[in-house]
Point group: C2
Chain length 537, copies 2
């Protein structure tokens, strides 16, 4: 028997019209070098419709890729909607990628145009001739005095908009592409993920729900997490969908500027990676604010950070887990009523976990080779695998041999996790970073955390190095704090009471700096290359 | 270009597994004549899987209709999920319908079995031989001492469950039918609406969101609105989906019992029709509670009621609008940040409206004949029409001539409304109840409200009666409070300063009672029949 409901597709133009029709008076604030710009969803909607006209003027193909290279701003939000609502595909270029990665992804996605903030134009312009499919460079003047090249390819956003006619939006196929996002490139080349209208719509509803970010007409949402990577964790869609005011930091990403925005604009919800909140803490501590939730993820959220916020700002941090391939938010750690009477330490420990998969994401942990499911006893670990309408099915034109799904249709995350009996996830490590010693696994992340609790240590990264008998053994690469000293033996003595004997690193190497990826994650593949031939001399 | 996301259907078994896997410890409490029963989603899930087995035992067809005839209870929640998750279609029979309507809908839906609460068995059993497709009557013993007939068709729920094997749930087609709900029959025969898995899933996510009921793991939700009509406004799905505890009143629908449940079970969210909250108010006023939201709809929510709750219970009532054909919730009136500084009167006036359509529902007001769109100026009225993935496309085997959609694909609600510039809906009347006088419309609802503000009036219903010159003219049917007196002239004098002159009723008839539909709405079609030949004598 068939349902007799309307066959209305889940498309992004529905979200657009919802904001346009019902939240026209709600504010969009964008910060910038020249101060804050104030607008409303009504103005934004009008401009977005005209931006659709600009794409026609520029001759962008019916499903052409539109590159963006900019900060979180109203204009970026115009692009986010005008693109998919007019049938095009928005490809957000991560401004922090290495030049060769930028060229790689722009060509791989076949971007026809790139919209670039003036403040970051110098990062892009030198590469423009290597980006072979880009025909137009549209500059969005977000302040500053970077020179705009005198080149026929270069156009001005506001001029184009002023000349364009507004267009109607009507997407009919919810399975069509809406966005391309590339992964961070931590473990190899960035991989292209193609979000559909349907997946974006459903992820938006997931992100809005109270077990995630809980956004509604009472909120002012500030995405610190960039729109140029993993779609600002869905907040750029959730805001318009929920009728929440949007507070956009633009290029003003300094910790003090962010804290000022939170306080002065009455921000109720914000989200970003741990290092951001580390920096903002001293600027926010003790000030009056309206925050009700601070979302955080992208890498493990240190318990100490969340507790420092609870003590100094008045609310702990909400941890979420996800990846570009999951749109990106897939789980979060909102504490249930069961914790109402728990003590602070218990709550803090719970908040240090990656949380429970959202409705719409099913998760399992398995032996990566046999796909045998592992028990949810918080001890057994396995590769975390997910399934659901906002999880990716495949990469866009992947490198040979890259397979995203298992033979039984689950998505491989490349993360290793344990799950509590209620399915609350504890991320242990990345598959590629685990160290295989004598047939058993050692978590590099656990070793790093233990080493970083030594007072003289600034950073530590642990990688597996080849070993004739044990296959691999851990090597600790340690950066000391300026002015501090410590010997290998000091580090090992510190570690001994904290980890199992067979986990103890074979050696400690003192290095100047842990190599980082473009987005600031530890680049262990670089360390592994550097120490591939390691032998104690 | 296609999106590259997983093709995972939006089905109700996903919600089921989410609750089973991640919220197993969360409580389900059911009240009853013999006291409260306590359970958890884990137990519920196990029993629900076994209930799937029972359907096989009973030989229910692959997409057979499963009738239910019962209160809000854990067992009803088992039926709600075991049905669609095993491919069947749950048909909730409204226990308050008139006998002939019950027979009509059970036969119209072709129910193969009916699950009935023992406390309401006497309402159903006398009709059972008129329900020609029902082969089994499964009695759920919810207390009381109603005799259970000794008849081969009659089976016991718990016995069947104990003997059944749990089944796996895997629905693959999101467009397949999940539920059948019939309308209240206010304006004619009840009409059958068939919800799909997809529409149920999306409505659930809509209802969870903060602009609606905002349900999450911090909540205990009590649906007072019955599961036997319009799917308990989605709360029976939202609870498991959100990991909210469920508090089920069972047959204990007396105002005092409801107030006790709210207080003693720490209910944070509840919802029901205005008459329910009218009754509960004195029993709740002044008591400590954890309520954060009281949802209300189904008919207009009097401003005075909401204000009385604000003053005596500490929170106003949240109005929602919808109909069986919209699953049923389509709009709600959560006040945005823009009202933060408004005074109480402004807020109360805003809360008296039907609110803003949810993301997922698009609304318009049109001239019902020409489909010409009316402006959103809060003055112009027109038929309210809606569109979206959880709005119905057609009735199930409708009577000849009943058309749900307009020629351009919007759903006719049969309600007349004005819309404010932000699309906030003000319901004026039902199309069928409007009075057409000299080519202009008179709102029966507005006249009734004005008459009911007379201190001697208990109830008033206004209907149009044929008029040779003006086409129709209003007739006021008035019920006086016991012991009170008033003349026609008294009523007209009271009315004169409140409404336009040409709205003044031609006559006032004093009647003993306003005829009601099965579910307690004014039955104006009965009044129109009674006064069809009306002439002043
Ligand atoms: N709460 C969290 N705790 C621990 N790790 C997290 C958390 N959230 C995200 N991560 C890590 O971030 C990864 C997702 O990052 P992203 O999609 O930006 O690219 P990447 O995996 O770093 O790069 P690439 O896939 O190109 O190697 C996850 O797979 C996980 O390893
Ligand atoms: N907040 C509200 N304010 C005013 N009226 C409301 C509100 N919510 C619901 N209603 C009324 O209830 C109707 C939906 O009721 P329901 O689907 O239960 O059946 P019905 O319309 O009464 O019966 P039938 O369609 O069989 O004549 C709406 O069309 C509207 O007239
Ligand atoms: Mg990755
Ligand atoms: Mg109706």
């Amino acid at each position: 028997m068939r349902g007799l409901m309307q066959d209305v597709p889940l498309t992004i133009d529905t979200i657009f019209r919802h904001a346009e029709q019902h939240h026209g008076d709600v504010a969009i604030v964008t910060d910038g070098p020249a101060g804050r710009t104030r607008s409303t969803y009504a103005e934004w909607a009008q401009r977005t419709r005209r931006l659709g006209g600009v794409f026609d003027t520029l001759g962008i193909s019916a499903d052409g890729r539109i590159g963006t290279f900019g900060w979180n701003s109203q204009r970026h939000l115009e692009l986010y909607f005008a693109g998919p609502c007019s049938g095009r595909v928005v490809h957000t270029l991560n401004i922090r990628l290495f030049p060769e990665q930028l060229t790689y992804i722009a060509n791989h996605a076949e971007d026809e145009v790139v919209f670039v903030d003036r403040t970051v134009l110098p990062l892009l312009w030198p590469l423009i001739d290597t980006m072979t499919t880009i025909r137009h460079v549209v500059v969005m003047d977000d302040g500053g005095d970077n020179e705009v090249p005198d080149d026929p390819r270069v156009l001005d956003y506001e001029t184009l908009l002023a000349d364009a006619a507004p267009v109607d939006f009507h997407v009919t196929d919810e399975g069509s592409a809406a966005y391309m996002c590339y992964t961070s490139g931590t473990t190899g080349n960035p991989k292209g993920v193609v979000y559909s209208h349907r997946s974006t719509y459903l992820h938006t509803m997931g992100v809005i729900s109270p077990n995630a970010f809980g956004l509604g007409v009472r909120d002012a949402a500030m995405p610190v997490v960039p729109m140029f990577h993993a779609n600002a964790w869905g907040i750029a869609h959730a805001g318009p969908a929920a009728g929440a005011a949007m507070v956009m930091p633009g290029s003003m990403m300094q910790p003090k500027a962010l804290a000022d925005l939170i306080v002065e604009e009455g921000v109720t919800f914000t989200a970003g990676v741990p290092t951001i909140w580390q920096g903002v803490l001293p600027h926010l501590a003790g000030r009056p604010h309206k925050l009700r939730e601070i979302g955080c993820g992208g890498s493990a959220v240190p318990k100490a950070l969340s507790e420092a916020y609870r003590e100094q700002v008045g609310l702990p941090i909400l941890q979420a887990w996800g990846m570009t391939e999951t749109h990106p938010v897939a789980s979060s750690g909102v504490l249930s009523r069961a914790f109402d009477d728990a003590d602070d330490a218990t709550k803090a420990a719970q908040r240090a976990r990656a949380g429970i998969p959202f409705l719409g994401v099913e998760a399992r942990i398995v032996d990566a080779d046999t796909l045998e499911e592992q028990p949810w006893d918080d001890k057994a670990t396995g590769e975390l695998q997910v399934r659901g309408p906002w999880c990716a099915a495949a990469y866009y034109n992947p490198d040979a041999g890259v397979e995203l799904l298992t033979s039984d249709g689950w998505m491989k995350t490349g993360d290793v996790a344990a799950m509590a009996p209620d399915g609350n996830i504890r991320i242990a490590d990345r598959t590629k970073d685990l160290i295989k010693s004598g047939g058993e696994w050692i978590s590099s992340v656990d070793l790093e955390n233990a080493i970083m609790s030594h007072p003289a240590v600034k950073e530590a990264a642990v990688v597996g190095i080849p070993h004739p008998k044990w296959d691999e053994r851990p090597l600790a690469c340690v950066v000391l704090k300026p002015g501090e000293t410590a010997t290998e033996q000091d580090i090992l003595d510190h570690l001994a009471p904290l980890v199992a004997k067979w986990w103890m690193p074979d050696a400690v190497e003192f290095i100047d700096e842990v190599p980082k990826t473009s987005v600031g994650k530890f680049s262990k593949k670089d360390l592994r290359t550097r120490f591939a031939e390691y032998s104690r001399d």
